[in-house]
Amino acid sequence: MLGVGALSLTLSIFSGFYRTWSQGVADALGHVVIDTDWRTRAELRDLVTHFPRGVQRVETFWNSQGLLVGKDGGRGVLIEGRGELAAADAAPSESTPDVQLKLGAPLAEYLGVEAGGTVRLLLPGVIERAVEARISDLVRYGMYDVDSRYALVDDASFAAWASVHDPEVFARRPGDARGLRVFFDPAVIDPLDVEKVEAWRTGFRAAIQDTEWSFETTTRTWREQRKNAFGGMDLDRQLLTIVIGLLTIVAAFNVVASLVVLFTERDREMATLVGLGLSRGAFTLWTGTLGLIMGFFSSLAGIFVGWGLGRLLQMSPLGALPAKVYNVERLPLAFVWTEQLSILGFGTLCAWLAAVILGWSLARMDILRVLGHRG
């Protein structure tokens, strides 16, 4: 039971991490990213005509490193310009609007700024100058790595600002972008379903392969955007599953130990039954059934134990995690029913197998010796 509980808890924690991280990465960075070199919106719109169905929203992006300075301090961040693909190419502005940006809540907290306030943005790459930017919103994707390192600049406001303050740069790249962030319609494509996202990507690659395309693109799924993190998590998950799975097998043999004790105490009754004509097969079937029942219910209990322990952990101080290390602030838990069902099946199977082996050995007992009729 405890082995199954540990397996259940471990897998639900991993599933929780996986779900939280993947949701955070996908929501923040797009379900699929198409990278290219600097392109106009018109060129990128042409690209979109080859998208397979299922896309809900497409955003243009460019990115650069930068420095954000707030009243409490400064931090080097990733500046990402985001714009609507449908929008027209930017035209020179007649006013001098603020550059608008969205900050992750942890980053804003670090800088000591709030929504509606301003920060100083130093751009060494795209535009080498300092910009006073207004914080239009604070966001929280649930992935600390993103929430604390990204500043999402509204591309339209930036272009308008550049047309006034840096017309030379603006003239060179009015509304250009380095690629597209694609967001799926969840009703058509589950964004977290890796296989479906892969299928969409394959379809897109096939579609543009058939055309005379003028520029190179690379396509990455959300999982590939954090390949190392998810790869590491998969490895940890597999290793722990194997280790705890082995422990569960040992635990299942403890069920057998209980049966051995039971049968050792009741060996005369067992021998009587065999003497009366209970066949070895029937005896094995009987012990197997006992093992199956015990295994099923103890595994079921183990899953409840894992679930309860998980909830307790979440509520306890141990549930608070350092976000800088784990990317999330609370211990994430996700009880995936298919996963839990597999654990239930695994625990039950182990107990059944162990009981069948035991039954088979016990069925070969010398009944006359057990009944005291042989010296």
Partner: protein
Amino acid sequence: MEVEPTPPLAAEILLDARGLHKTYRGGGEELRVLRGADLQLRKGDFVALLGNSGSGKSTFLQCLGLLDHVEEGEILFGGREISRLGEGDRADLRLRSIGFVFQFHHLIPELTALENVLLPSSLAGRRDKAWALELLRLVGLEDKVARYPWQLSGGESQRVAIARALVNRPTLLLTDEATGNLDRPRAQEIVDIFAKINQNFGTTILSVTHDEGLALKYGRRLRLKDGIVGEWTGD
């Protein structure tokens, strides 16, 4: 109780054991218990098997009841050779055709008298409560069917064991010192029950006993000596 005479010789042979050999080995020694034992039982026979302690009576009975294996010889049951059968078939014969009563009753303590009697029929998949009650009535325990073994005397427990051995209507009943733990009056009651069973159902009964007085109640008496079965002459 008056004992019926054994059926005539022409009656159909139920059990035919030929040249049975059995040797116990241990501690570098060999004990040859059966040395070519033969036995023929006809349908409806009521036979006592006598012999000294350690003569191999129980071993012989256990071999006939398929609880043990012989090394040589053959056992024909209803004309079919059964000594070389596999464990499954042996268990099936024990369950359906051969009843066995030990010196100790070996009842399941958690089951009532009725449930104990019903056990073999449950194992055989033909649970017949009315028949079990009839058997309990036959052995004089109709008012104790709901009692547990610990609520029964030794003689009563043995009677439950007899009813249990009969519940699947075996054609052969083997009893191994079934009265050995009982006082004289209780022992006589048990043998009377055996006689009644033999009479009422035509069940062939072979009883191992060391009590010559009780053996006189049987229709036929045999003796096992030096690993060979012979007629008991009373000396």
